[in-house]
């Protein structure tokens, strides 16, 4: 009887140790975070991007005198790489990893009456900065779905105004951002949980700081929508996920 209870006690202790080890496992190996890398390409000929008539504002016209402004619905760079695609881990992140926010402050600049970058990715609750490099007034008017918890706002930024620092409360792919004064100005804020990346002009990307595990990587492009892929990241290793969007 006594030995039996002893054994039971030991078993219980073992179980406790195992649970602790399991739940705290990722923390121990946190130092050995891996990453997800790859390229996003466009298959086919890139659609023609219409030019923008900026004649409403003489400054905008002057700025683009030598480099005509175009819509940025599909931006293809070197070797058919797709720019402005946001990649994030839509499934598989532990609650702890998803709640970690990067310490950087992404910047959304208004330059030459266009948004730089055209698509800005960020984490839920991560602060971002809206700046203006233009000697003409803009108003920044993001239009999220108010039912997600992200509330639309509309603020003026005349020339030389201080940056506006804001953050979004909830995940949302994607929040359109516009300027009412310059109706062609159109960009996106992509708000995700956990690590993310945006493609460079050659379509390459790297999602850093990914704890080992199995994930679904989602690639979002404003015109072509989303694609997903499953990847497994080993500790300290880079997993590869390449995407190809078909030109329409």
């Amino acid at each position: 009887m006594k030995t039996r209870s002893k054994v039971a006690g030991m078993l219980a202790a073992l179980l406790l140790v195992a649970t602790v080890a399991l739940t705290h496992g990722p923390k121990v190996s946190a130092a050995a975070n891996g990453k997800v890398t790859g390229t996003v390409k466009l298959d086919g000929t890139a659609p023609h991007m219409k030019g923008i008539d900026m004649s409403k504002d003489p400054f905008c016209v002057k700025y683009h005198a030598n480099s005509p402004a175009q819509l940025e619905l599909v931006v293809v760079g070197k070797n058919g790489g797709l720019e402005n695609v946001v990649l994030y881990l839509s499934q598989g992140l532990s609650a702890e990893a998803a709640s970690q926010k990067p310490s950087t402050t992404p910047v959304f600049d208004q330059k030459g009456c266009q948004y730089t970058p055209h698509v800005l990715a960020m984490d839920v609750g991560q602060e971002y900065k809206v700046t203006t490099s233009d000697p003409t007034a803009h108003n920044i008017h993001p239009e999220p779905n108010p039912m997600t918890g992200n509330i639309p706002w509309n603020r003026s930024q005349p020339p030389g105004a201080a940056p506006i620092v804001q953050s979004w409360k909830a995940e949302e792919v994607a929040i359109p951002v516009k300027c009412n004064i310059h109706p062609w100005m159109h960009g996106y804020h992509v708000v995700v949980k956990g690590p993310y990346a945006t493609t460079n002009d050659d379509g390459s990307y790297t999602i850093e700081n990914v704890p080992p595990g199995s994930y679904t990587v989602t690639a979002w492009q404003e015109t072509y929508g989303t694609q997903t892929q499953k990847v497994t990241v080993a500790g300290g290793q880079a997993a590869t996920a390449n995407f190809t969007f078909k030109a329409k």
């Binding site: 409403k56 003409t136 007034a137 108010p146 918890g149 639309p152 003026s156 004064i181």
Partner: protein
């Protein structure tokens, strides 16, 4: 043991799904204006009698009359309101909504509802709030502070014109304030419906109230849901009051500001949005220093 885990999990999922608030939960909504308290359940029959035709059964602004009227009735389900005393991107206070019901939306089909009793209007506010779950999860913003208005002077009116130029109000409202600026024709509201900027020569019936303080509030809070942004980040209180005074010179009604503007021969902005040259310098281009000094009051 597995059973316990299952029960726990079930409990968690049930709790997670509770973000959809029940009708009953939302009907418990109250509103507080002064020492009056409104109740959604009491406001319901009043809404059904007077408001449902435009704002609709579920408060989405799709009532049976909605298709015939423009500007469109407000959609209460997303709780985005033009006339607030709170910063852009926040819920209005109960008093803001109460004032809107009493004032009506000028230049729209929304009349003032003064024939209703004060208590009726407070109850209506509670019922209007019950349409959006945002009122259960968010608090209204902190109302902006409106300092007392300084006395009207010629200098302040001139400064106001400089603010009108610097903040580029004219991009939409036009250099003469007729609502015909370069960006006016392409303006749309949050639901992509065309919308016009205010023409200050038309009337003083501003959407959110006719007083000077109401104008001040419009600059500092913005009219959410419309293209009018908040200037609170870049407009000092004095500048906002000066802008109020300048805009009063454009109004059809006879105002003190208008008389002063006439006396000093105040000119509107140039068609390209620049401040006009001051006529006080009779010498031609040879005296730029003199021009600068007379202009300095306008471009501090």
């Amino acid at each position: 043991m597995l059973g316990t885990v299952a029960v726990l999990l079930l409990g968690i999922t049930c709790w997670a799904q509770q973000t959809e608030y029940s009708e009953q939960q939302r009907l418990n909504m109250e509103s507080h204006v002064g020492n009056m308290t409104g109740h959604a359940t009491i406001g319901a029959p009043i809404y059904k009698r007077f408001c449902i035709g435009c704002h609709g059964v579920v408060g989405d602004g799709q009532g049976e009359n909605a298709m015939w009227i423009d500007p469109k009735p407000r959609n209460f389900t997303i709780a985005i309101f033009r006339c607030r005393s709170t910063p852009t991107g926040t819920l209005p206070t109960d008093t803001d909504l109460y004032d809107t019901v009493g004032r009506g939306m000028l230049n729209s089909n929304m009349p003032h509802w003064l024939p209703l009793t004060n208590q009726d209007r407070v109850d209506l506010v509670a019922y209007v709030k019950h349409f959006s779950p945002r009122w259960l999860t968010e608090k209204p913003g902190t109302p902006i502070v409106i300092p007392p208005e300084p006395p009207v002077t010629a200098d302040r009116i001139k400064e106001g014109r400089a603010v009108f130029q610097k903040m580029e109000c004219w991009k939409c409202h036009g250099v003469t304030g007729r609502g015909n600026g370069p960006s006016a024709a392409t303006l749309t509201d949050d639901e992509n419906r065309p919308i016009l900027p205010f023409n200050f020569h038309d009337s003083q019936r501003f959407k959110c109230g006719e007083t000077d303080a109401a104008m001040y509030k419009d600059f500092m809070t913005g009219l959410d849901g419309s293209p009018m942004p908040s200037f609170a980040d870049n407009l000092k209180p004095d500048e906002a009051w000066e802008l109020v005074m300048y805009l009063r010179t454009l109004q059809p009604e006879d105002t003190v500001e208008k008389q002063i503007a006439k006396q000093i021969g105040l000119k509107p902005l140039e068609p390209n949005g620049q401040l006009p040259e001051t006529p006080a310098t009779p010498a031609p281009a040879g005296n730029p220093a003199g021009e600068k000094s007379t202009n300095s009051s306008g471009t501090k």
